[in-house]
Protein backbone atom coordinates (compact mmCIF):
# COMPACT_ATOMS: atom_id res chain seq x y z
CA UNK A 1 0.00 0.00 0.00
CA UNK A 2 1.37 3.42 -0.83
CA UNK A 3 0.12 6.65 0.56
CA UNK A 4 0.20 9.55 -1.86
CA UNK A 5 2.40 12.34 -0.60
CA UNK A 6 1.17 15.92 -0.81
CA UNK A 7 2.81 17.76 -3.72
CA UNK A 8 5.63 20.10 -2.75
CA UNK A 9 5.89 23.59 -4.25
CA UNK A 10 8.69 22.41 -6.52
CA UNK A 11 6.65 19.42 -7.66
CA UNK A 12 3.70 21.74 -8.42
CA UNK A 13 5.90 24.14 -10.38
CA UNK A 14 7.65 21.35 -12.29
CA UNK A 15 4.54 19.25 -12.82
CA UNK A 16 6.32 16.07 -11.66
CA UNK A 17 6.75 13.78 -8.66
CA UNK A 18 10.16 13.86 -7.02
CA UNK A 19 11.71 10.73 -5.49
CA UNK A 20 11.01 10.37 -1.78
CA UNK A 21 13.03 8.94 1.08
CA UNK A 22 11.05 5.74 1.31
CA UNK A 23 12.79 4.71 -1.90
CA UNK A 24 15.91 2.81 -0.80
CA UNK A 25 18.34 4.58 -3.14
CA UNK A 26 17.03 7.96 -1.98
CA UNK A 27 17.22 7.37 1.75
CA UNK A 28 20.07 9.82 2.28
CA UNK A 29 18.96 12.55 -0.10
CA UNK A 30 15.59 14.08 0.61
CA UNK A 31 14.95 15.85 -2.67
CA UNK A 32 11.37 16.74 -1.70
CA UNK A 33 12.55 18.58 1.40
CA UNK A 34 15.67 20.09 -0.14
CA UNK A 35 13.99 21.53 -3.24
CA UNK A 36 11.97 23.90 -1.12
CA UNK A 37 11.19 26.53 -3.74
CA UNK A 38 8.90 26.48 -6.79
CA UNK A 39 11.70 25.98 -9.31
CA UNK A 40 10.01 26.32 -12.68
CA UNK A 41 11.26 25.60 -16.20
CA UNK A 42 10.89 29.22 -17.23
CA UNK A 43 13.53 30.95 -19.27
CA UNK A 44 15.34 33.86 -17.70
CA UNK A 45 17.49 36.24 -19.68
CA UNK A 46 21.10 36.30 -18.55
CA UNK A 47 23.36 39.27 -19.13
CA UNK A 48 26.02 38.66 -21.80
CA UNK A 49 28.74 40.03 -19.52
CA UNK A 50 27.79 37.56 -16.74
CA UNK A 51 27.78 34.65 -19.16
CA UNK A 52 31.18 35.52 -20.61
CA UNK A 53 32.67 36.06 -17.17
CA UNK A 54 31.41 32.67 -15.98
CA UNK A 55 32.60 30.98 -19.17
CA UNK A 56 36.09 32.25 -18.47
CA UNK A 57 36.02 30.64 -15.00
CA UNK A 58 36.03 27.18 -16.52
CA UNK A 59 39.45 25.74 -15.68
CA UNK A 60 39.66 24.64 -19.30
CA UNK A 61 38.83 28.03 -20.83
CA UNK A 62 42.34 28.43 -22.24
CA UNK A 63 42.93 24.75 -22.82
CA UNK A 64 40.30 23.73 -25.35
CA UNK A 65 39.70 24.74 -28.94
CA UNK A 66 36.40 22.89 -29.27
CA UNK A 67 33.61 24.09 -27.10
CA UNK A 68 29.87 23.49 -26.86
CA UNK A 69 28.20 26.13 -24.72
CA UNK A 70 24.87 25.95 -22.91
CA UNK A 71 23.38 28.96 -21.17
CA UNK A 72 20.61 28.32 -18.65
CA UNK A 73 19.97 24.94 -20.18
CA UNK A 74 19.79 26.15 -23.80
CA UNK A 75 22.40 25.43 -26.47
CA UNK A 76 24.18 28.68 -27.40
CA UNK A 77 25.35 28.36 -31.01
CA UNK A 78 26.97 31.81 -31.00
CA UNK A 79 29.32 31.02 -28.14
CA UNK A 80 30.06 27.46 -29.26
CA UNK A 81 33.01 26.58 -31.41
CA UNK A 82 33.36 23.14 -32.85
CA UNK A 83 35.32 22.15 -35.90
CA UNK A 84 36.20 18.52 -35.31
CA UNK A 85 33.62 15.88 -34.48
CA UNK A 86 30.35 15.27 -36.25
CA UNK A 87 28.01 17.46 -34.33
CA UNK A 88 24.30 18.05 -34.20
CA UNK A 89 22.42 20.40 -31.94
CA UNK A 90 19.61 17.98 -31.38
CA UNK A 91 18.52 15.74 -28.56
CA UNK A 92 18.93 12.14 -29.64
CA UNK A 93 17.91 9.93 -26.79
CA UNK A 94 18.30 6.17 -27.15
CA UNK A 95 18.46 4.77 -23.65
CA UNK A 96 15.97 2.56 -21.81
CA UNK A 97 16.91 3.27 -18.21
CA UNK A 98 14.07 4.01 -15.82
CA UNK A 99 14.95 6.51 -13.16
CA UNK A 100 13.16 9.41 -11.44
CA UNK A 101 15.86 11.88 -12.47
CA UNK A 102 15.58 10.86 -16.13
CA UNK A 103 11.78 11.10 -15.90
CA UNK A 104 12.19 14.61 -14.46
CA UNK A 105 14.61 15.47 -17.26
CA UNK A 106 12.14 14.28 -19.90
CA UNK A 107 9.24 16.19 -18.42
CA UNK A 108 11.33 19.37 -18.42
CA UNK A 109 11.79 19.07 -22.23
CA UNK A 110 15.60 19.15 -22.28
CA UNK A 111 17.81 20.84 -24.84
CA UNK A 112 20.97 19.05 -25.88
CA UNK A 113 23.57 18.15 -28.45
CA UNK A 114 24.91 14.96 -29.98
CA UNK A 115 28.64 14.58 -30.52
CA UNK A 116 29.82 11.75 -32.75
CA UNK A 117 33.48 10.87 -32.83
CA UNK A 118 35.02 8.79 -35.59
CA UNK A 119 38.75 8.17 -35.86
CA UNK A 120 41.31 9.23 -33.28
CA UNK A 121 40.53 12.57 -31.68
CA UNK A 122 43.30 13.64 -29.37
CA UNK A 123 41.97 17.13 -28.80
CA UNK A 124 39.79 17.88 -25.81
CA UNK A 125 36.20 18.85 -26.45
CA UNK A 126 34.50 20.77 -23.68
CA UNK A 127 30.77 21.03 -23.09
CA UNK A 128 30.25 23.99 -20.75
CA UNK A 129 27.02 24.62 -18.93
CA UNK A 130 26.64 28.14 -17.61
CA UNK A 131 23.74 29.07 -15.36
CA UNK A 132 22.85 32.59 -14.26
CA UNK A 133 19.34 32.26 -12.93
CA UNK A 134 16.86 32.80 -10.13
CA UNK A 135 14.58 29.97 -8.98
CA UNK A 136 14.77 28.27 -12.33
CA UNK A 137 14.84 24.63 -13.35
CA UNK A 138 16.76 23.61 -16.46
CA UNK A 139 17.29 20.32 -18.20
CA UNK A 140 19.99 19.18 -20.62
CA UNK A 141 20.35 15.93 -22.46
CA UNK A 142 23.57 15.33 -24.35
CA UNK A 143 24.71 12.31 -26.22
CA UNK A 144 28.32 11.32 -26.82
CA UNK A 145 28.97 8.57 -29.36
CA UNK A 146 32.41 7.16 -30.02
CA UNK A 147 32.34 5.01 -33.15
CA UNK A 148 33.95 1.56 -33.35
CA UNK A 149 37.72 1.87 -33.10
CA UNK A 150 37.58 5.61 -32.45
CA UNK A 151 38.85 7.56 -29.46
CA UNK A 152 37.77 10.82 -27.85
CA UNK A 153 38.29 13.02 -24.85
CA UNK A 154 35.35 15.04 -23.55
CA UNK A 155 35.02 17.40 -20.60
CA UNK A 156 31.66 18.47 -19.18
CA UNK A 157 31.89 21.58 -17.03
CA UNK A 158 29.12 23.08 -14.92
CA UNK A 159 29.49 26.62 -13.55
CA UNK A 160 26.95 29.15 -12.39
CA UNK A 161 25.60 31.90 -10.20
CA UNK A 162 22.23 32.23 -8.53
CA UNK A 163 19.61 29.81 -7.30
CA UNK A 164 18.59 27.08 -9.75
CA UNK A 165 18.23 23.37 -10.40
CA UNK A 166 20.12 21.66 -13.20
CA UNK A 167 19.08 18.25 -14.38
CA UNK A 168 21.65 16.92 -16.83
CA UNK A 169 21.37 13.54 -18.49
CA UNK A 170 24.34 12.37 -20.54
CA UNK A 171 24.14 9.31 -22.75
CA UNK A 172 27.41 7.77 -23.69
CA UNK A 173 28.04 5.07 -26.22
CA UNK A 174 31.56 3.68 -26.69
CA UNK A 175 31.77 1.34 -29.69
CA UNK A 176 33.81 -1.79 -30.31
CA UNK A 177 37.46 -1.23 -29.48
CA UNK A 178 36.72 2.46 -28.94
CA UNK A 179 38.06 4.62 -26.15
CA UNK A 180 36.57 7.53 -24.26
CA UNK A 181 38.14 9.74 -21.61
CA UNK A 182 35.48 11.81 -19.94
CA UNK A 183 35.94 14.38 -17.24
CA UNK A 184 33.12 16.15 -15.44
CA UNK A 185 33.61 19.19 -13.25
CA UNK A 186 30.69 20.22 -11.07
CA UNK A 187 31.25 23.78 -9.83
CA UNK A 188 27.69 25.04 -9.70
CA UNK A 189 26.60 28.12 -7.72
CA UNK A 190 26.76 27.78 -3.93
CA UNK A 191 22.98 27.48 -3.44
CA UNK A 192 22.22 25.57 -6.64
CA UNK A 193 21.10 21.97 -6.97
CA UNK A 194 22.80 19.67 -9.44
CA UNK A 195 21.08 16.47 -10.54
CA UNK A 196 22.44 14.18 -13.18
CA UNK A 197 22.31 10.74 -14.65
CA UNK A 198 24.97 9.37 -16.95
CA UNK A 199 24.27 6.23 -18.96
CA UNK A 200 27.28 4.41 -20.35
CA UNK A 201 26.87 1.73 -23.01
CA UNK A 202 30.10 -0.08 -23.78
CA UNK A 203 30.81 -2.32 -26.75
CA UNK A 204 33.29 -5.17 -27.02
CA UNK A 205 36.84 -4.18 -26.03
CA UNK A 206 35.70 -0.63 -25.29
CA UNK A 207 37.64 1.43 -22.78
CA UNK A 208 36.02 4.09 -20.62
CA UNK A 209 37.90 6.35 -18.20
CA UNK A 210 35.38 8.60 -16.47
CA UNK A 211 36.28 11.05 -13.70
CA UNK A 212 33.99 13.47 -11.87
CA UNK A 213 35.03 16.27 -9.55
CA UNK A 214 32.20 17.42 -7.30
CA UNK A 215 32.97 20.77 -5.77
CA UNK A 216 29.98 23.12 -6.20
CA UNK A 217 26.25 23.30 -5.41
CA UNK A 218 24.54 22.84 -2.06
CA UNK A 219 22.78 19.67 -3.16
CA UNK A 220 24.22 17.21 -5.62
CA UNK A 221 22.87 13.88 -6.73
CA UNK A 222 24.66 12.05 -9.52
CA UNK A 223 23.39 8.75 -10.82
CA UNK A 224 25.21 6.50 -13.21
CA UNK A 225 24.29 3.34 -15.09
CA UNK A 226 27.02 1.44 -16.89
CA UNK A 227 26.08 -1.40 -19.20
CA UNK A 228 28.52 -3.81 -20.78
CA UNK A 229 27.25 -5.02 -24.14
CA UNK A 230 30.37 -6.78 -25.43
CA UNK A 231 33.15 -8.83 -23.85
CA UNK A 232 36.59 -7.61 -22.74
CA UNK A 233 35.48 -4.04 -22.14
CA UNK A 234 36.84 -1.95 -19.29
CA UNK A 235 35.09 0.81 -17.34
CA UNK A 236 36.90 3.01 -14.86
CA UNK A 237 34.50 5.35 -13.13
CA UNK A 238 36.05 7.57 -10.49
CA UNK A 239 35.24 10.63 -8.51
CA UNK A 240 36.53 13.18 -6.04
CA UNK A 241 34.43 15.34 -3.75
CA UNK A 242 35.72 18.55 -2.20
CA UNK A 243 32.87 19.74 0.02
CA UNK A 244 32.37 22.02 3.01
CA UNK A 245 29.70 24.13 4.70
CA UNK A 246 26.39 22.31 4.36
CA UNK A 247 27.14 20.81 0.96
CA UNK A 248 25.58 17.43 0.28
CA UNK A 249 26.64 15.11 -2.53
CA UNK A 250 25.27 11.66 -3.24
CA UNK A 251 26.55 9.42 -6.02
CA UNK A 252 24.62 6.29 -6.95
CA UNK A 253 26.28 4.05 -9.54
CA UNK A 254 25.02 0.82 -11.01
CA UNK A 255 27.39 -1.34 -13.04
CA UNK A 256 25.70 -4.05 -15.06
CA UNK A 257 28.07 -6.85 -15.96
CA UNK A 258 25.76 -8.57 -18.46
CA UNK A 259 28.50 -10.28 -20.48
CA UNK A 260 31.71 -12.18 -19.57
CA UNK A 261 35.31 -10.93 -19.29
CA UNK A 262 34.67 -7.27 -18.48
CA UNK A 263 36.49 -5.14 -15.95
CA UNK A 264 34.99 -2.39 -13.81
CA UNK A 265 36.86 -0.11 -11.42
CA UNK A 266 35.24 2.46 -9.17
CA UNK A 267 37.39 4.74 -7.03
CA UNK A 268 35.93 7.63 -5.04
CA UNK A 269 37.98 9.93 -2.81
CA UNK A 270 35.80 12.15 -0.69
CA UNK A 271 37.00 15.18 1.31
CA UNK A 272 34.47 16.65 3.71
CA UNK A 273 34.92 19.70 5.91
CA UNK A 274 32.60 21.50 8.35
CA UNK A 275 29.05 20.07 8.12
CA UNK A 276 29.37 18.58 4.65
CA UNK A 277 27.91 15.19 3.87
CA UNK A 278 29.14 12.78 1.22
CA UNK A 279 27.43 9.61 0.10
CA UNK A 280 28.57 6.87 -2.22
CA UNK A 281 26.20 4.10 -3.29
CA UNK A 282 27.72 1.58 -5.63
CA UNK A 283 25.90 -1.41 -6.99
CA UNK A 284 27.56 -4.07 -9.11
CA UNK A 285 25.32 -6.62 -10.77
CA UNK A 286 26.98 -9.65 -12.35
CA UNK A 287 24.61 -11.68 -14.53
CA UNK A 288 24.72 -15.48 -14.50
CA UNK A 289 26.52 -15.58 -17.86
CA UNK A 290 29.03 -12.85 -17.01
CA UNK A 291 31.83 -15.24 -16.00
CA UNK A 292 35.35 -13.91 -15.46
CA UNK A 293 34.00 -10.54 -14.43
CA UNK A 294 36.56 -8.46 -12.56
CA UNK A 295 34.91 -5.72 -10.53
CA UNK A 296 36.43 -3.57 -7.83
CA UNK A 297 34.89 -0.71 -5.99
CA UNK A 298 36.32 1.53 -3.30
CA UNK A 299 35.27 4.72 -1.62
CA UNK A 300 37.39 6.57 0.92
CA UNK A 301 36.46 9.62 2.91
CA UNK A 302 38.72 12.11 4.64
CA UNK A 303 36.75 13.89 7.36
CA UNK A 304 38.28 17.24 8.26
CA UNK A 305 35.66 18.09 10.86
CA UNK A 306 33.87 16.08 13.51
CA UNK A 307 30.56 17.27 12.05
CA UNK A 308 31.18 15.96 8.55
CA UNK A 309 29.47 12.72 7.60
CA UNK A 310 30.19 10.01 5.07
CA UNK A 311 27.83 7.20 4.15
CA UNK A 312 28.79 4.34 1.88
CA UNK A 313 26.59 1.60 0.56
CA UNK A 314 28.33 -1.02 -1.54
CA UNK A 315 26.04 -3.65 -3.05
CA UNK A 316 27.17 -6.69 -4.95
CA UNK A 317 24.63 -8.84 -6.74
CA UNK A 318 26.50 -11.75 -8.21
CA UNK A 319 24.79 -14.53 -10.11
CA UNK A 320 27.88 -15.94 -11.87
CA UNK A 321 30.23 -18.32 -10.04
CA UNK A 322 33.63 -17.51 -11.54
CA UNK A 323 34.23 -13.84 -10.85
CA UNK A 324 36.55 -11.57 -8.89
CA UNK A 325 34.57 -8.81 -7.22
CA UNK A 326 35.41 -6.70 -4.22
CA UNK A 327 34.56 -3.51 -2.45
CA UNK A 328 36.00 -1.42 0.33
CA UNK A 329 35.04 1.76 2.12
CA UNK A 330 36.95 3.75 4.71
CA UNK A 331 36.51 7.00 6.58
CA UNK A 332 39.02 8.74 8.77
CA UNK A 333 40.60 12.01 9.72
CA UNK A 334 44.06 13.24 8.77
CA UNK A 335 46.72 10.72 9.73
CA UNK A 336 48.54 12.08 12.79
CA UNK A 337 51.77 10.24 12.06
CA UNK A 338 51.87 11.79 8.59
CA UNK A 339 51.25 15.22 10.08
CA UNK A 340 54.02 14.84 12.66
CA UNK A 341 56.49 13.63 10.07
CA UNK A 342 55.81 16.62 7.80
CA UNK A 343 55.90 19.10 10.70
CA UNK A 344 59.14 17.60 12.01
CA UNK A 345 60.67 18.64 8.68
CA UNK A 346 59.65 22.26 9.17
CA UNK A 347 56.34 22.27 7.30
CA UNK A 348 53.72 24.31 9.21
CA UNK A 349 50.40 22.70 10.19
CA UNK A 350 48.20 24.30 7.50
CA UNK A 351 50.66 23.56 4.71
CA UNK A 352 51.15 19.97 5.89
CA UNK A 353 47.39 19.46 5.97
CA UNK A 354 47.00 20.84 2.43
CA UNK A 355 49.75 18.56 1.19
CA UNK A 356 48.03 15.51 2.67
CA UNK A 357 44.57 16.42 1.37
CA UNK A 358 45.96 17.06 -2.10
CA UNK A 359 47.70 13.69 -1.95
CA UNK A 360 44.44 12.01 -0.90
CA UNK A 361 42.36 13.29 -3.85
CA UNK A 362 45.42 13.14 -6.08
CA UNK A 363 44.91 9.42 -6.47
CA UNK A 364 41.81 10.19 -8.55
CA UNK A 365 43.40 13.11 -10.44
CA UNK A 366 46.28 10.82 -11.41
CA UNK A 367 43.79 8.86 -13.52
CA UNK A 368 43.19 11.87 -15.81
CA UNK A 369 45.04 11.09 -19.01
CA UNK A 370 45.44 14.64 -20.33
CA UNK A 371 48.29 16.32 -18.42
CA UNK A 372 46.98 19.85 -18.77
CA UNK A 373 43.52 18.79 -17.59
CA UNK A 374 45.12 17.00 -14.66
CA UNK A 375 47.05 20.14 -13.75
CA UNK A 376 43.78 22.12 -13.88
CA UNK A 377 42.24 19.73 -11.34
CA UNK A 378 45.25 19.97 -9.04
CA UNK A 379 44.87 23.74 -9.21
CA UNK A 380 41.16 23.60 -8.32
CA UNK A 381 42.01 21.46 -5.29
CA UNK A 382 44.82 23.80 -4.22
CA UNK A 383 42.54 26.81 -4.53
CA UNK A 384 39.81 25.05 -2.53
CA UNK A 385 42.31 24.19 0.18
CA UNK A 386 43.48 27.77 0.53
CA UNK A 387 39.90 28.81 1.22
CA UNK A 388 39.37 25.97 3.69
Amino acid sequence: MTTALAKTSAEEALGISLPHRRMEEWRWTDLRARLAKPYAPIESAAKASDIDRLLSTSPFAKLVRHRVVFVNGKFDAGRSKLVGPDFSATVASRHTVEDPLIAMNTSLKPDGVTLRFAGQTAELVEIVHVAVATVQAMAIRNRIEVADGASASVIETFVGEGDYVVNAVTEISVGKGAKLDRLKIEREAAVATHLSHVIYDLGENAKLNDITLTNGSTLNRQNGTCNFHGQYAEAKISGAYLLKGKQHADTALVINHAVPHCVSRELFKIVLDENARGIFQGKVVVARDAQKTDGKQSSHALLLSEYAEFDAKPELEIYADDVVCGHGATAGDINHDHMFYLKSRGIPEAEAKSLLIAAFVGEVFDLVADEAAQAALVEIAAEWLVKT
Binding site: F340, Y341, K343, S344, L356
Partner: protein
Protein backbone atom coordinates in the same frame (compact mmCIF):
# COMPACT_ATOMS: atom_id res chain seq x y z
CA UNK B 1 73.64 24.73 22.39
CA UNK B 2 71.22 22.09 23.75
CA UNK B 3 70.59 21.92 27.46
CA UNK B 4 68.25 19.34 28.93
CA UNK B 5 67.74 19.74 32.66
CA UNK B 6 65.99 17.35 35.01
CA UNK B 7 63.50 16.30 32.29
CA UNK B 8 60.50 14.31 33.50
CA UNK B 9 58.09 12.99 30.87
CA UNK B 10 55.02 10.83 31.07
CA UNK B 11 52.66 9.47 28.46
CA UNK B 12 49.59 11.65 28.21
CA UNK B 13 47.05 8.86 28.34
CA UNK B 14 48.80 6.69 30.93
CA UNK B 15 50.11 7.61 34.32
CA UNK B 16 53.49 6.11 33.56
CA UNK B 17 56.61 8.22 33.83
CA UNK B 18 59.18 7.38 31.16
CA UNK B 19 61.89 9.99 31.61
CA UNK B 20 62.71 10.57 35.26
CA UNK B 21 65.07 13.47 35.57
CA UNK B 22 67.23 13.35 32.47
CA UNK B 23 69.96 15.96 32.10
CA UNK B 24 72.27 16.41 29.12
CA UNK B 25 74.30 19.27 27.67
CA UNK B 26 75.44 19.23 24.04
CA UNK B 27 77.83 21.78 22.55
CA UNK B 28 78.38 22.60 18.86
CA UNK B 29 80.51 20.07 17.00
CA UNK B 30 80.01 17.34 19.59
CA UNK B 31 78.66 13.87 18.89
CA UNK B 32 76.89 12.28 21.84
CA UNK B 33 75.83 8.66 21.83
CA UNK B 34 72.95 7.59 24.01
CA UNK B 35 72.84 3.89 24.65
CA UNK B 36 70.41 1.90 26.67
CA UNK B 37 68.29 -1.22 26.88
CA UNK B 38 64.83 -1.48 25.37
CA UNK B 39 62.27 0.51 27.31
CA UNK B 40 64.83 2.84 28.88
CA UNK B 41 63.27 5.91 27.26
CA UNK B 42 65.54 6.37 24.23
CA UNK B 43 62.78 6.88 21.66
CA UNK B 44 60.73 8.98 24.08
CA UNK B 45 63.67 11.36 24.39
CA UNK B 46 63.89 11.75 20.60
CA UNK B 47 60.12 12.31 20.23
CA UNK B 48 59.97 14.83 23.08
CA UNK B 49 62.84 16.77 21.52
CA UNK B 50 61.02 16.81 18.16
CA UNK B 51 57.68 17.71 19.75
CA UNK B 52 55.51 14.70 19.03
CA UNK B 53 52.06 14.80 20.63
CA UNK B 54 51.14 12.25 23.28
CA UNK B 55 53.89 13.12 25.76
CA UNK B 56 53.61 15.39 28.76
CA UNK B 57 56.60 17.14 30.28
CA UNK B 58 55.88 17.28 34.01
CA UNK B 59 59.17 18.78 35.17
CA UNK B 60 62.43 20.14 33.85
CA UNK B 61 63.41 22.09 30.75
CA UNK B 62 64.91 21.86 27.28
CA UNK B 63 66.61 24.97 25.95
CA UNK B 64 68.15 25.31 22.52
CA UNK B 65 70.51 28.22 21.97
CA UNK B 66 68.97 29.80 25.06
CA UNK B 67 65.39 29.41 23.83
CA UNK B 68 62.70 27.27 25.50
CA UNK B 69 62.35 24.50 22.95
CA UNK B 70 59.34 22.88 24.61
CA UNK B 71 57.25 25.99 23.89
CA UNK B 72 57.74 25.58 20.13
CA UNK B 73 55.69 23.61 17.58
CA UNK B 74 57.52 20.77 15.78
CA UNK B 75 57.88 22.80 12.57
CA UNK B 76 59.34 25.75 14.50
CA UNK B 77 61.88 23.47 16.17
CA UNK B 78 62.86 22.21 12.71
CA UNK B 79 63.30 25.75 11.43
CA UNK B 80 65.54 26.47 14.47
CA UNK B 81 67.80 23.65 13.30
CA UNK B 82 66.56 20.45 14.93
CA UNK B 83 66.32 17.30 12.83
CA UNK B 84 65.10 13.90 13.96
CA UNK B 85 66.05 10.90 11.85
CA UNK B 86 63.21 8.48 12.62
CA UNK B 87 63.74 4.91 13.72
CA UNK B 88 60.72 4.03 11.58
CA UNK B 89 60.40 6.65 8.81
CA UNK B 90 56.75 7.31 7.95
CA UNK B 91 55.35 6.41 4.51
CA UNK B 92 53.26 9.17 2.98
CA UNK B 93 51.33 7.99 -0.10
CA UNK B 94 50.67 10.59 -2.76
CA UNK B 95 53.37 13.05 -1.71
CA UNK B 96 56.33 12.86 -4.07
CA UNK B 97 59.71 12.83 -2.27
CA UNK B 98 61.11 15.69 -4.37
CA UNK B 99 58.03 17.85 -3.76
CA UNK B 100 58.18 17.08 -0.03
CA UNK B 101 61.84 18.13 0.14
CA UNK B 102 61.10 21.35 -1.72
CA UNK B 103 58.15 22.29 0.49
CA UNK B 104 60.19 21.47 3.62
CA UNK B 105 63.32 23.39 2.68
CA UNK B 106 61.38 26.43 1.54
CA UNK B 107 59.15 26.41 4.63
CA UNK B 108 62.27 26.42 6.81
CA UNK B 109 63.95 29.15 4.77
CA UNK B 110 60.80 31.24 4.94
CA UNK B 111 60.57 30.77 8.72
CA UNK B 112 64.16 32.00 9.02
CA UNK B 113 63.51 34.98 6.77
CA UNK B 114 65.68 33.58 3.95
CA UNK B 115 64.89 33.61 0.26
CA UNK B 116 63.20 30.50 -1.15
CA UNK B 117 65.32 28.40 -3.53
CA UNK B 118 64.50 28.54 -7.22
CA UNK B 119 63.58 25.23 -8.84
CA UNK B 120 66.92 24.78 -10.69
CA UNK B 121 68.88 25.71 -7.54
CA UNK B 122 66.86 23.26 -5.51
CA UNK B 123 67.21 20.45 -8.07
CA UNK B 124 70.99 20.84 -8.20
CA UNK B 125 71.17 21.00 -4.42
CA UNK B 126 69.23 17.76 -3.94
CA UNK B 127 70.81 15.81 -6.81
CA UNK B 128 74.36 16.38 -5.52
CA UNK B 129 73.43 15.10 -2.08
CA UNK B 130 71.32 12.22 -3.38
CA UNK B 131 74.19 10.94 -5.53
CA UNK B 132 76.46 10.67 -2.49
CA UNK B 133 73.90 8.49 -0.74
CA UNK B 134 73.26 6.24 -3.77
CA UNK B 135 69.72 7.58 -4.05
CA UNK B 136 68.41 7.32 -7.60
CA UNK B 137 66.28 9.84 -9.46
CA UNK B 138 63.59 7.19 -9.49
CA UNK B 139 63.49 7.12 -5.68
CA UNK B 140 63.10 10.90 -5.58
CA UNK B 141 60.09 10.65 -7.87
CA UNK B 142 58.37 8.09 -5.68
CA UNK B 143 56.05 9.03 -2.81
CA UNK B 144 57.84 9.66 0.50
CA UNK B 145 59.20 6.33 1.82
CA UNK B 146 56.43 4.36 0.06
CA UNK B 147 57.70 0.98 -1.03
CA UNK B 148 61.25 1.85 0.09
CA UNK B 149 63.28 -0.98 1.62
CA UNK B 150 64.55 -0.57 5.18
CA UNK B 151 67.93 0.61 3.90
CA UNK B 152 66.38 3.01 1.40
CA UNK B 153 64.26 4.57 4.13
CA UNK B 154 67.31 5.23 6.30
CA UNK B 155 69.26 6.66 3.36
CA UNK B 156 66.28 8.87 2.57
CA UNK B 157 66.32 10.15 6.18
CA UNK B 158 70.00 11.05 5.85
CA UNK B 159 69.28 12.74 2.51
CA UNK B 160 66.63 14.88 4.20
CA UNK B 161 69.20 15.73 6.86
CA UNK B 162 71.78 16.67 4.24
CA UNK B 163 69.28 18.84 2.38
CA UNK B 164 67.80 20.59 5.43
CA UNK B 165 71.26 21.20 6.98
CA UNK B 166 70.17 21.20 10.64
CA UNK B 167 72.43 22.36 13.49
CA UNK B 168 71.34 19.53 15.78
CA UNK B 169 70.74 16.02 14.42
CA UNK B 170 69.03 13.40 16.54
CA UNK B 171 69.45 9.93 15.05
CA UNK B 172 67.02 7.44 16.58
CA UNK B 173 68.30 3.87 16.10
CA UNK B 174 69.46 4.71 12.60
CA UNK B 175 71.26 1.36 12.48
CA UNK B 176 68.16 -0.77 13.05
CA UNK B 177 67.25 -2.89 10.06
CA UNK B 178 70.47 -2.14 8.16
CA UNK B 179 72.85 -4.69 6.75
CA UNK B 180 76.57 -3.97 6.93
CA UNK B 181 76.80 -2.33 3.48
CA UNK B 182 73.81 -0.09 4.08
CA UNK B 183 75.19 0.79 7.51
CA UNK B 184 78.40 1.97 5.85
CA UNK B 185 76.58 4.16 3.32
CA UNK B 186 74.42 5.70 6.03
CA UNK B 187 77.36 6.23 8.40
CA UNK B 188 79.45 7.83 5.66
CA UNK B 189 76.51 10.12 4.96
CA UNK B 190 76.28 11.10 8.61
CA UNK B 191 80.05 11.56 8.99
CA UNK B 192 80.11 13.83 5.95
CA UNK B 193 77.74 16.11 7.84
CA UNK B 194 79.93 16.38 10.94
CA UNK B 195 81.19 19.90 11.36
CA UNK B 196 82.36 22.24 14.14
CA UNK B 197 78.96 23.97 14.12
CA UNK B 198 76.76 20.88 13.97
CA UNK B 199 76.01 18.66 16.96
CA UNK B 200 74.61 15.14 16.90
CA UNK B 201 72.83 12.86 19.32
CA UNK B 202 73.10 9.26 18.20
CA UNK B 203 70.63 6.96 19.93
CA UNK B 204 71.40 3.29 19.63
CA UNK B 205 71.04 -0.04 21.33
CA UNK B 206 74.22 -1.51 19.88
CA UNK B 207 77.84 -0.48 19.83
CA UNK B 208 78.09 -1.48 16.15
CA UNK B 209 76.95 1.89 14.80
CA UNK B 210 79.54 3.69 16.97
CA UNK B 211 82.38 1.95 15.14
CA UNK B 212 81.28 3.94 12.11
CA UNK B 213 80.03 7.13 13.72
CA UNK B 214 82.61 7.63 16.44
CA UNK B 215 81.15 9.65 19.32
CA UNK B 216 82.88 12.17 21.59
CA UNK B 217 80.73 11.13 24.55
CA UNK B 218 78.72 8.06 25.45
CA UNK B 219 75.83 8.12 27.92
CA UNK B 220 73.97 5.19 29.36
CA UNK B 221 70.24 5.72 29.62
CA UNK B 222 68.47 3.42 32.03
CA UNK B 223 65.22 3.75 33.91
CA UNK B 224 64.54 7.15 32.41
CA UNK B 225 67.74 8.92 33.35
CA UNK B 226 71.39 8.99 32.39
CA UNK B 227 73.17 6.71 34.81
CA UNK B 228 76.68 6.90 33.45
CA UNK B 229 78.64 9.09 31.04
CA UNK B 230 82.06 8.57 29.55
CA UNK B 231 84.13 8.60 26.38
CA UNK B 232 83.81 6.29 23.41
CA UNK B 233 85.43 3.44 25.40
CA UNK B 234 82.23 3.22 27.48
CA UNK B 235 80.45 1.80 24.45
CA UNK B 236 82.97 -1.05 24.25
CA UNK B 237 82.52 -1.76 27.92
CA UNK B 238 78.74 -1.99 27.40
CA UNK B 239 79.25 -4.30 24.45
CA UNK B 240 81.33 -6.61 26.66
CA UNK B 241 79.19 -6.54 29.82
CA UNK B 242 75.67 -5.69 28.60
CA UNK B 243 73.21 -3.40 30.33
CA UNK B 244 72.57 -5.69 33.33
CA UNK B 245 74.68 -3.62 35.76
CA UNK B 246 72.81 -0.43 34.92
CA UNK B 247 69.35 -1.96 34.96
CA UNK B 248 69.96 -2.95 38.59
CA UNK B 249 71.14 0.51 39.52
CA UNK B 250 68.03 2.05 38.07
CA UNK B 251 65.72 -0.32 39.86
Amino acid sequence: MLKIENLHVKLEDENREILKGLSLTVKPGEVHAIMGPNGSGKSTLSYVLAGREGYEVTEGSVTYNGEDMLALEPHQRAAKGLFLAFQYPIEIPGVQTMQFLKVAINAQRKARGEKELSIPEFMRFVKERAAKLNISQDMLKRPVNVGFSGGEKKRAEILQMAVLEPSLCVLDETDSGLDIDALKVVSDGVNALRSPERAMIVITHYQRLLEHIVPDFVHVLSGGRIVKSGGKELALELEANGYADYAEKAA
